[in-house]
Symmetry: C2
């Protein structure tokens, strides 16, 4: 019952029918990503996930990590699993062939990442952060740094980390104190970073730390932060591994979940200074780190999908096996999947997961098309869409994962509360998702400030047009399920428009308005996007059924699942919209002592 099987059928449907892999394939870069290639990539990933990574998930939870002699000792089996991961060529999947990558679309990588994160989220954080490091270096580092460091990150021979947080600097990076002193062609770093995921391990020869620090002439605040690459081991001139650098893990945190991944306190420069190399321009580190962080935000949204899928598979197995109670009118006891409330919970999970999957894949497709579509206007459209939806992917999927992993425990009844069952681990693991890589509140401020107010709602208006188009199409269907979806979706889109209008009217005049609306707006946009994309999925499923495609079971389930989402999730849009339009009054009414 702790098995995981990659849901390849739905993954393929989402890739081809919703994310539009056919369109992505038209760009020169991706023409080799044929359905056959993608299929075998997914199947291989599913195999490695099921056979190697998933069985280590509980072990990682139980064992955790510890620091011995200034080095992290990861859980048993993780090192060889990482070796298998590298041997499979997985770290190179989405990167440019010029640097040793396999050049597959980000959208395919998104699907593969879903699989890793379902199988073993604590483990998969390590390659996830490495991927982000590659993206940041690719875009911002000098050719010298790229030549020296990129290939081994892309191959997975080395891993990467993100070092932002300090005790006084969490969401507020203006408060970063770690300092960097120039020493000719490099810098010496001094300071302490906390919450560094996979800050140390024994998987690889070397680890590259991306570190935010201040130069001596740095202006105060976020405009005075620079980005440095600090390797665990310095390189000799010939590129071989040289001396140990002055960066060490001090301790690992005792956390609620993801015990399998070490969350390190990292100390820089305790013994004379940690050698680092400037990435990009001085004082521009925060902007550069955002490249990495935006990558991580999509990745965390995917984690929300993944951990929910894992919890769902577990709950589904239990519901099919556990015998308890009777059905009115029937003789004999039944498995609990026959009870209406258990079905309701499983349907919440299933439909929520399919909505998240659609949103993650479709958003990532905009990244591929934004960079590689032939037409410049299409590229701009997709980059705007990607930018708009990134905080929604992160915020909404991570929040929804709380509810769905909660339900995963609930389906198990009393057994869900017992750690040996394993459902509780998914619930605990999921809890980090709304916190790291920017809390939901931080995502929400991004959505409101940089995505909605800055362009006066233009990108959102385009999204609403797409939603209305699909709602209209669904309304014209003779399928009553699609008609129901059309009605529910239209109502929800109207609620969204009302909230956006409210924001655009009040957001620039009333200082309290954006912050008070923010998280509800993330949830509202996510909810409506979920309903929209599942309606689109149902439209496709309907037309394939009508065309006689021999996939009846899957396609009819897709339509019913979309209808369930429309009936059980979409009505929340109105509640979220009403909370936004109530404004900041009651939120800000109390004095500090009245709390």
């Amino acid at each position: 019952m702790n098995d995981y099987r990659a849901p390849l059928h739905d993954i393929r449907f989402n890739l081809e029918e919703l994310a539009g892999l056919a369109e992505i394939r038209k760009s020169a870069r991706f023409q080799d990503a044929t359905p056959d290639v993608v299929n075998s990539v997914l199947e291989e990933a599913g195999r490695l996930a099921a056979e190697v990574l998933a069985p280590l998930n509980r072990i990682g939870d139980r064992t955790g990590n510890r620091v011995v002699d200034r080095a992290v000792v990861p859980p048993e089996g993780f090192k060889s699993a990482y070796q298998a991961f590298v041997d499979g060529g997985w770290p190179a999947l989405p990167f440019a062939p010029e640097r040793g990558g396999q050049g597959l679309p980000e959208t395919v990588s998104c699907a593969v990442n879903e699989i890793w994160q379902s199988a073993n989220m604590a483990f998969a954080l390590c390659p996830m952060l490495t991927e982000g490091t590659v993206v940041a270096l690719e875009q911002h580092a000098s050719e010298v740094i790229k030549d020296r460091f990129l290939a081994k990150l892309i191959s997975g021979e080395w891993t990467g980390t993100m070092n932002l947080t300090e005790p006084q600097a969490g969401s507020d990076l203006a408060a970063v104190k770690t300092r960097a002193e120039p020493r000719g062609d490099h810098y010496l770093l001094f300071g302490q970073k906390i919450f560094i995921t996979w800050g140390d391990h024994d998987f690889t020869d070397n680890i590259l730390h991306m570190v935010l620090a201040r130069l001596p002439d740095a202006p105060p605040g976020v405009k005075g932060i620079s980005l440095f690459l600090v390797p665990k081991f310095l390189l000799n001139p010939d590129g071989t591994r040289g001396t140990r650098n002055d960066v060490f893990p001090v301790s690992v945190e005792h956390k609620l979940g993801i015990h399998g991944s070490p969350t390190c306190v990292m100390s820089y420069g305790d013994n004379g200074g940690a050698t680092g190399f400037l990435v990009g321009e001085p004082h521009n580190g925060l902007a550069l780190m955002f490249t990495m962080m935006n990558h991580a935000r999509i990745a965390v949204g995917i984690q929300g999908l993944s951990i929910s899928e894992r919890a769902y598979q577990k709950a589904r197995s239990y519901a099919r096996e556990r015998v308890q109670g009777q059905i009115a009118g029937d003789m004999g006891r039944v498995t609990i999947i026959h009870h209406a409330d258990v079905r309701r919970m499983l349907m919440l999970m299933k439909s929520g997961i399919e909505a998240m999957r659609a949103l993650c894949y479709v958003t990532t497709a905009s990244l591929d098309l934004g960079h590689h579509a032939a037409n410049a206007a299409i590229r701009t459209h997709h980059l705007d869409r990607f930018s708009l939806l990134t905080p929604v992917v992160k915020g909404w999927c991570s929040e929804l994962a709380q509810e769905l992993t909660y339900l995963g425990v609930q389906v198990h009844g009393g057994m869900g509360f017992i750690e040996e069952t394993g459902a509780a681990q998914h619930y605990r693991d999921a809890r980090i998702l709304t916190i790291y890589e920017g809390t939901t509140g931080i995502q929400a401020n991004d959505l409101i400030g940089r995505k909605l107010l800055r362009d006066d709602g233009k990108a959102m208006a385009e999204l609403v047009i797409d939603m209305r188009t699909d709602a209209l199409a669904a309304g014209k269907s003779t399928d009553t399920d699609l008609q129901t979806m059309a009605t529910r979706l239209s109502t929800a889109v109207t609620a969204l428009e009302q909230a956006v209008d409210w924001l655009l009217t009040h957001g620039k005049q009333d200082a309290g308005a954006p912050g008070s609306a923010a998280v509800n707006m993330v949830m509202l946009v996510g909810t409506v996007c979920g309903g929209w994309l599942l309606t689109r999925a149902a439209l496709t499923a309907r037309s394939r059924l009508d065309a006689g495609v021999p996939d009846q079971d899957y396609l009819s389930a897709k339509i019913k699942t979309a209808r369930f989402f429309a009936e059980h999730f979409l009505p929340r849009a109105q509640a979220q919209s009403q909370a936004i339009c109530a404004g900041p009054g009651a939120i800000m009414a109390l004095t500090e002592t009245q709390f």
Copy 2:
């Protein structure tokens, strides 16, 4: 920051202004429960909670329980805390003076229980179950059993447990297999029970287990279950402690939360049979156990309130101390309580807690009035109300506690995920509440089947009249906050009526209808009750402010908090109602293999 202070101001307001202690005092039984007496009871409880129980909460979580030589070894300090609890006379609070009780109203006991459960939920489970045992024995046991066992339970010299669950019999008690063989004036029990909270400990001389088992001539199903009292130590004819009975803890579970309380596997009759005494009539055990379970259900609802209050106090402290970020237009960094989204989260917690407190206290007041009011019609009215709201108190408060303890972690940002911070413990502890003493699904079936359908919605219609009355009063106020509440509450009540109408129309014809509506109905009724009672609270606060009562800070906060609830929680009622009225179609649409 791990302190707890009983929120006596709001507790007193709820007791006097909402639960109507003045009315309860009119009955002969409670005339000594003067405001002065109640005040000093609350203050003493607050002191014991803050000084003795709360400091043990983390210790219990870290240490847990273990079984050594067939006995549970509880966490350090718990035994002496229990002794202090008994020395204070606390176990006797609500019980009849004739049996050594203090004869205070259940409503006061409810407030005191809130305090214990906030201070240390794992610990407080022990007296909570003892209280339930007393209630069951008082109502159903023979005078012989009462005379032998009740006094020492009421004094707390002994404790009580509930033994229902077996591996194959969870929600479905028809499947109980433990058997009882008659042996003259007693029975010998054989079987294994799981999930037995405080099934063993070293606090007291003796423990009384209430055990469901089958007699040899028992019919199958729930109509063949009998209730037995099985003491850990048999009594000598003179009432002194005799030989050790054949009941032992086999092991304790490794759980997600409430580590401080042992959850035991109990074995009966491994060495010849555990001596037990029949309570009530043969084969009628389930009905009797329901007395105990109904008591426990209210108590678990209170736990939802309590754990949320504890999490809120912690989050509030952190928000007042943690410096992070700036406010637009201001110079310098601020404590995070200044940020709109942090306020929103604290207001969700504060308003949700005050709604739960109102619901728990008002419902319990109906128990006091139902048993002790002078007028028979009033007694009937209140017993019906109590019966209607019991599954709502349990279901809604326990579900809401998930959201509020989640927010308690979220306010802490990254620190919330670190176990040493303590916010995560409340989140983990809260997770059991929607499971034990009947899952939310079980509460919901009770609400739908036994409370709404059975009387054709009569008790609910009376509740709706009370809600409409208060909405009308609020609408007539010149206070704009109250006007807003009136509008929101009216809309929510209409949504509730629609859902109830739907249920009454479809519930008896369509076998799938009740189960598909059930949990949403619990949440809907809870949400609307919360908005109703806070509106009533705001009306009282407004009139006291108008009368110049010198309590400005508290009373104005009560009004603003009620408005926040109306704007942020009440809109959910429409979503819940819509989900109910969508019916079972989409919930039941998939075949088992389509999941």
